[in-house]
C-alpha cells in the first residue's frame, strides 16, 4: 500500500515497544573469533600444501595455538550471551537436531577438542626440553604422529564449523536480510580473511614465497568479501523486509557510517596493501593490512547482524 497518499496512509498510534537489538556485540564477537579460529586452520592447510614445512618453522604449533585461543573466545561469548549459561549442558543432554545451534555446538566442541590435542602435541614437540620428565608431556610427545593423522579431518571439520552460523542465520526466518547462500559465502570469505590475517602476525620468520601466498589469500578474501557486501547492499533479494531494512541504511540511517568504515578500512585498503605486498615484501605493511582487515571484518559483521533486527515484525 502506498503510504504517501493521504487517503491510504496507515500510522501506528498505539503499540508496545519494539524489542530492539537482541543479538548484539557478543554474537558479533562470537562470529568474528570463530572466523579466526577456523580460518587459521584452513589457510594453514593451504600453505602446508603449497610449501615445505621448513619454510614456516613455527606454523605446526602456532597455528593450533591461535585457533585454540580464538575458539575459546568464541565459546566464552557463546556462553555469556545465553541468559542461562549453565543450561548449555541441555544442548548435549536434550539435543534437537533440526537446530543449527545444536549441530554447531556439537561440531565446535569436537573441533575445539581436536585443536587442543594438536596444540599440545605441537607445543611439546616445538620445545622438547620443556617439562621433559612430566608424565603428561611424555604421553603427549608419545602420540606426536597423531597430529598429522588428525590434521586432514580437522581441516575438513573447520569448514562446517565456520559455516554453521550462516545456517543459524538462515533458520532465523524473521530476518530476511540474512540469506543462506550469501551468508555461507560471507562466512567462508570471512574465515579465509581472518585466517590469513591471523597467520600474518606469526609469519615474520617465514620464507618470502609463503608470505606472498598469505598476502594473496588476504587480497582475494578482502576482494570477494567486499563484492559480496556490495552485491547484498545495493541489490538486495527483492524481499519486502530486506528492501525495507536496506532502504533505511541507504538513507543514511543508523549503522550507515559503520558499514562504510568497514568496507573501506576493512576490505578496500587491506586489498591494495596485500596486492602491493605481493610485489614488494614489506612485513610491517602486511601486518597493518591484517589489523585493518580484522577490525573491518568485525565492523561489517556487526552492522549486518544488527540492522535487520531493527525492523518491526508485527
Amino acid at each position: 500500500m502506498e503510504n504517501t497518499i493521504h487517503a491510504t496512509q496507515a500510522i501506528v498510534t498505539l503499540d508496545v515497544a519494539l524489542p530492539g537489538i537482541i543479538w548484539g556485540w557478543m554474537i558479533t564477537l562470537n562470529m568474528w573469533a570463530k572466523s579466526v579460529g577456523t580460518g587459521v586452520i584452513l589457510v594453514g592447510a593451504f600453505l602446508l600444501y603449497r610449501h615445505k614445512k621448513e619454510e614456516m618453522p613455527n606454523l605446526r604449533w602456532m597455528m593450533p595455538l591461535i585457533s585454540f585461543i580464538f575458539l575459546n573466545i568464541f565459546l566464552l561469548f557463546t556462553l555469556a550471551d545465553l541468559h542461562h549459561p549453565y543450561r548449555m549442558i541441555n544442548i548435549f543432554l536434550h539435543p534437537h537436531w533440526t537446530s543449527a545451534i545444536t549441530v554447531g555446538a556439537w561440531m565446535a566442541s569436537l573441533f575445539t577438542g581436536l585443536i587442543t590435542v594438536m596444540m599440545l602435541i605441537g607445543g611439546f614437540d616445538a620445545y622438547p626440553d620443556f617439562r621433559k620428565n612430566c608424565g603428561i608431556a611424555k604421553t603427549v610427545r608419545g602420540i606426536s604422529p597423531f597430529y598429522e593423522k588428525i590434521f586432514p579431518f580437522v581441516v575438513f571439520l573447520a569448514i562446517p564449523v565456520t559455516l554453521y552460523t550462516a545456517i543459524i542465520m538462515a533458520e532465523s526466518s524473521a530476518r530476511e536480510l540474512w540469506q543462506a547462500p550469501a551468508e555461507v559465502m560471507q562466512m567462508m570469505w570471512a574465515a579465509l580473511l581472518a585466517g590469513s590475517a591471523g597467520l600474518i602476525f606469526i609469519s615474520g620468520s617465514w620464507s618470502k614465497e609463503s608470505r606472498k601466498d598469505l598476502a594473496l589469500v588476504l587480497a582475494i578474501a578482502t576482494f570477494f568479501s567486499f563484492m559480496m557486501y556490495m552485491g547484498e547492499y545495493f541489490f538486495s533479494f527483492k524481499s519486502a523486509e530486506a528492501e525495507a531494512t536496506l532502504a533505511f541504511v541507504h538513507a543514511g540511517g543508523e549503522y550507515n557510517v559503520e558499514f562504510w568504515f568497514a568496507m573501506v578500512l576493512g576490505f578496500i585498503v587491506p586489498f591494495f596493501l596485500a596486492v602491493s605486498n605481493m610485489k614488494n615484501d614489506n612485513k610491517t605493511l602486511l601486518r597493518f593490512a591484517a589489523i585493518l582487515a580484522l577490525v573491518g571484518l568485525y565492523m561489517a559483521k556487526d552492522v549486518w547482524l544488527k540492522i535487520p533486527q531493527m525492523l518491526s515484525l508485527s
Binding site: V12, T13, G20, M26, H83, H94, H96, A174, S314
Partner: protein, 252 residues
C-alpha cells in the same frame, strides 16, 4: 485435533480486555506481552478510521521457533499448540530471531523465552483461553480446525475469501486467522511509525532484554545467589506492606 484461533477484526473494538486478561492469567511481567492490541489510524484527519489488531503467537504448523530451538524447549503438543518449557530453555534467543511475527519475548523474571501458549493449561482443564472468555464482542474465536462442525471451522467457511493469515509467504502455515483485515492492518511494512512510534526510533525500543539490573557476570553467579527474587505476587502482598508501613510511621 488441531487448535486454531480466529479474530474477526470487524468486531474488535480495541478494548484491550484480551490483553489484560492474558497478562493476569499468565502473570506476564511488565514491559513484555503475549498478546497485544495494536491501534492503526488509516487516512488523514478528518477522513480517518482506526483499526485494532490483536497480535499473538500464530502456533504455526511449520514453526521456525520450534525448528531453531536447540533443546526442544519449544515443542508441539498433540493438539497443535506450540508450547514452551521454560525449565529447559537456555535463553539463546534463537526463537526470537526465528519468529517472523515477533511473538516471542525474553521473560525478565525467569530469563527464559516465553510466548502465547493458547493458555495450554486452561485447555488441558477443558476451559477456553483467557482472552476468548473476556472478549465482550466475541471477536476471538477458538476451536478445533480439524473438526468441520466446530464454531471456528464454520466461521472460516462462512467468510471464505475474507480469511487471512499473517505473512503466508513465509510458509509457516499459521493456525491463527483474521477476518476483516487488510494489508494496512496485518502488514507491518505497510504502516508508518511516526515520531515516538517510529520504526527505527529509540523511544520505542526497550533498552534491554531481560532483567535491566542483571549483567553478564550475574548470569553466571545467578544459581549461587540466595537473595529473594521479585515476582508479580510480591506486589499483591497488601496486608504485610500495610502493616510494615504502619509500624514505620510509629502507628498504634
Amino acid at each position: 485435533m488441531k487448535l486454531g484461533f480466529l479474530v474477526d477484526l470487524n468486531l474488535c473494538m480495541g478494548c484491550k480486555g484480551c490483553e489484560v486478561a492474558c497478562k493476569v492469567e499468565n502473570e506476564v511481567p511488565l514491559g513484555t506481552w503475549r498478546l497485544r492490541v495494536k491501534y492503526i489510524d488509516i487516512g488523514t484527519f478528518p477522513d480517518t478510521s482506526r483499526s485494532f489488531t490483536p497480535l499473538r503467537c500464530n502456533h504455526c504448523e511449520s514453526a521456525p521457533c520450534e525448528r531453531i530451538c536447540p533443546v526442544s524447549a519449544l515443542h508441539y503438543l498433540e493438539n497443535g499448540i506450540v508450547n514452551v518449557d521454560s525449565s529447559r530453555c537456555i535463553g539463546c534467543a534463537g526463537c526470537m530471531m526465528a519468529c517472523p511475527y515477533g511473538a516471542i519475548y525474553m521473560d525478565p523474571e525467569t530469563n527464559t523465552a516465553d510466548k502465547c501458549t493458547y493458555c495450554a493449561h486452561r485447555i488441558e482443564s477443558g476451559m477456553m483461553p483467557a482472552c476468548v472468555v473476556v472478549c465482550p464482542v466475541q471477536a476471538n474465536i477458538f476451536g478445533d480446525i480439524d473438526d468441520d462442525t466446530s464454531h471456528i471451522s464454520q466461521y472460516i467457511m462462512e467468510h471464505q475469501g475474507a480469511v487471512q493469515v499473517r505473512k503466508p509467504e513465509k510458509h509457516t502455515i499459521p493456525k491463527h486467522f483474521y477476518v476483516g483485515g487488510g494489508n494496512q492492518t496485518l502488514n507491518p511494512l505497510a504502516q508508518q511509525r511516526l515520531e515516538g512510534y517510529n520504526l527505527f526510533n529509540n523511544v520505542t525500543h526497550l533498552k534491554h532484554i531481560g532483567n535491566p539490573h542483571e549483567s553478564v557476570i550475574d548470569r553466571f553467579t545467578e544459581p549461587f545467589r540466595s537473595e529473594e527474587k521479585l515476582d508479580n505476587r510480591s506486589f499483591m502482598d497488601f496486608d504485610n506492606n500495610a502493616h510494615e508501613s504502619h509500624e514505620e510511621e510509629g502507628g498504634h
